[in-house]
């Protein structure tokens, strides 16, 4: 099978997966007992409106009075044309709300990703080349710590120590402090630590296991015999072959980890990013916003998987296209 054919098939598969997921979501929405109608009517009532009228309006907006097939068609067309609905709690289109929120998510998620990659791979490679030393044990312990500690509790403990007891850092995020300011950097330190700890541990485990496969390989022994120093052996002979699987692991798994982790981090530190937006939408029963904010990570996961699979086959000639 040629590579182009493989890539084409893989992309087609991603499209089918997206379609299936949208259909499942529609099915869930159709059978669910409560999808925000009550909350919408309640909001209307508190603003002095008529409850029955509000429920009718809601049915009209969401098209609940139409036959199922028409609704399905409308839903799919709306999804495809990025017409993702109106958030009634924020009185703005859902996509605008998301556009306002995501810079806040990026502000701490990007540094956290970079830190977790660099620190994770560095510790992992060091552990692999210095197996069974004290540093290796320390690294392994760190990895266990990182994967075991509950993100949200770690965040709360950091707030308790560094904000409440020591008073060095603010305990929650406040907007309006600029982007490139010291105050903003200070309030991002704890979220970045919380988010990167788990990811560092994950990266470390992968890179250690991956590098260990090459540490005792013949070509590494040859390089050593020919007098290559430790650094050269590490970078040129171990890191390079290990990089392919590591890069591909990174795309999908780290994305997933970051998204789920970001959700919690934002709730704990009150950062007004995508996670908190989604959380508030759930609490306030704002269906359109809930759907959009939960589907976006799902789509990103699909694209991440796609990129991972394609990158794998492009970068690693040993992989045959035949096996999926």
């Amino acid at each position: 099978m040629s590579m182009h054919w493989y890539v084409a098939r893989r992309v087609a598969w991603a499209v089918i997966a997206t379609y299936l997921i949208l259909s499942i979501t529609f099915g869930l929405l159709a059978v669910a007992p409560g999808d925000g109608q009550t909350a919408f009517a309640f909001k209307a009532a508190t603003q002095g409106g008529d409850v029955d009228e509000a429920q009718e309006t809601f049915d009209e907006i969401t098209g609940r009075d139409e036959p199922l097939l028409t609704r399905y068609k409308n839903y799919m067309v709306n999804m495809a044309t990025l017409n993702w609905g109106w958030s009634f709690t924020r009185n703005q289109p859902v996509l605008d709300a998301i556009a306002q929120a995501y810079p806040y998510s990026l502000m701490y998620a990007l540094p956290a990703t970079l830190i977790s990659i660099i620190a994770g791979y560095a510790i992992g490679l060091y552990s692999a080349t210095h197996q069974y030393t004290l540093t290796d044990y320390f690294g392994t312990f760190t990895a266990f710590f990182g994967i075991s500690i509950p993100n949200f509790w770690f965040g709360i403990m950091l707030i308790l120590v560094f904000a409440v007891d020591l008073g060095w850092l603010p305990s929650y995020y406040q907007t309006g402090r600029g982007v490139w300011t010291v105050a903003n950097a200070k309030q991002l330190i704890l979220p970045i630590i919380v988010l990167s700890t788990g990811a560092i541990a994950g990266n470390m485990r992968y890179s250690r296991a991956e590098a260990l496969e090459y540490v005792h390989a013949d070509f590494v022994k040859t390089a050593r015999a020919k007098g290559a120093d430790d650094w050269r052996v590490l970078v040129r002979h171990i890191f390079r072959p290990a990089l392919v699987p590591l890069m591909t692991i990174l795309v999908a798994d780290i994305l997933g980890l970051l998204f789920a982790g970001a959700y919690i981090t934002e709730v704990v530190f009150q950062i007004p990013g995508l996670g908190l937006l989604s959380y508030k939408a759930i609490i306030q029963q704002d269906t359109a916003l809930v759907m959009a904010t939960t589907l976006i990570p799902v789509f990103i996961a699909i694209i991440g998987n796609l990129v991972q699979d394609i990158a794998y086959t492009v970068l690693d000639p040993r992989i045959s296209y035949g096996d999926r």
């Binding site: 598969w13 997966a17 299936l20 997921i21 499942i24 979501t25 869930l28 929405l29 669910a32 007992p33 409560g34 999808d35 266990f144 710590f145 994967i147 075991s148 500690i149 509950p150 993100n151 949200f152 509790w153 709360i156 403990m157 707030i159 308790l160 409440v164 305990s171 997933g256 998204f259 789920a260 959700y263 919690i264 709730v267 704990v268 989604s278 959380y279 759930i282 609490i283 029963q285 269906t287 809930v290 759907m291 939960t294 589907l295 990570p297 799902v298 996961a301 699909i302 998987n305 999926r324």
Partner: protein, 385 residues
Amino acid sequence: MAADTRSETAATERFEDVDWNDVGGLGFTRRTLALGVSSLAYAVAVLYDVFLTEDALISGTNWLFLLTLLAGVFFVAWPLADNRRLTAYYWRRFKKNRAAVISAIYLLVVFVLGTFGPMLIAKPELNVLAAYQPPVFLSVDSSVPTSCVGQAAEGLCHGTWKYPLGTTSDGKGIARLVVFGMRVSMQVGLITMLIVISIGTVVGTSAAYFSGLVDELLMRYVDIQQTFPTFFLFLIVTYLFKPSLFLLITIFGFLGWGGIARLVRSEALQRREESYIQAAENAGASDGWIIRRHLMPNVSNTVITAATLLIPSFILFEATFAFLGLTDPSTPSWGQVISSGRGDLDSAWWIATIPGVFLFFTVLAFNFVGDALRDALDPRSEGDA
């Protein structure tokens, strides 16, 4: 003399003369018999609870937990007790890892306390007068609790043995909440694991054994299921339906087995080529028999290890959702207590801290045990040890 006895035993052990009932027989072994009887009793009890009683005797989650315990007895404890030598061998390898042994003991304590504790102690109750009591041996400024249950001296309120780990903002004893939380965590971890490994093993071994179209269909389905992040799926579902522990367990159980299925398939593909499978096929064994008796036992070590490492992720998910307030509020879970202590960090730090310590150590212990099990059960890791 010696020759005589030998010929004598040889004579009594002629194939035709063997009393098969003595050696376990063609009928059922004691384990199969006991398994049959108890699953029958279980099924009858569940049916009785579903159809004949007004209120459920015990909740759906508890029924599932009972099933998990039964499975644990018949498929883990009993075989281990039958094969003493193998058990001793695994134990020798397992106990090399000191941290894992301590973790296993800790988990055993949590398991026993969590399973039987909630039957013996009363559910923690709301008591505004006893709010914000500090843990025993510790003290807090008298202005924090509404009234001090223990000794109050020099403007400090001391903790009492009545509430060994202090109380929450609504006066619930944290020690009791922790015990109830143990049950929730154990239920989530163990039941979900049972569902995941049952489906994952059946799908994985079937895909590997039948290959061809069956393999293609099953694995394509796994592909779809794996692309959907369970965390966000559960968010959507919990938003649209009434959240409960039962829902969480079923969602994570029935949608989380993809990884295990893939792992089992790749392992079973190798086993499939081995001569004992061909021998069984030639002897006329049915597909189901080969899968049950030859494939499954030979992939079980991989499954057990992977399952142990999956448990902590389920426990963490449950705690996370409880923390977000997206589970049934009447289920006393660790995540929920941590969440309730968030607002009182500056005055009552123990509310959020103590349940988190238990959560952290439980997850850590499962990870340690899983790691040690991999070293102990997986013959491929022998070279390293």
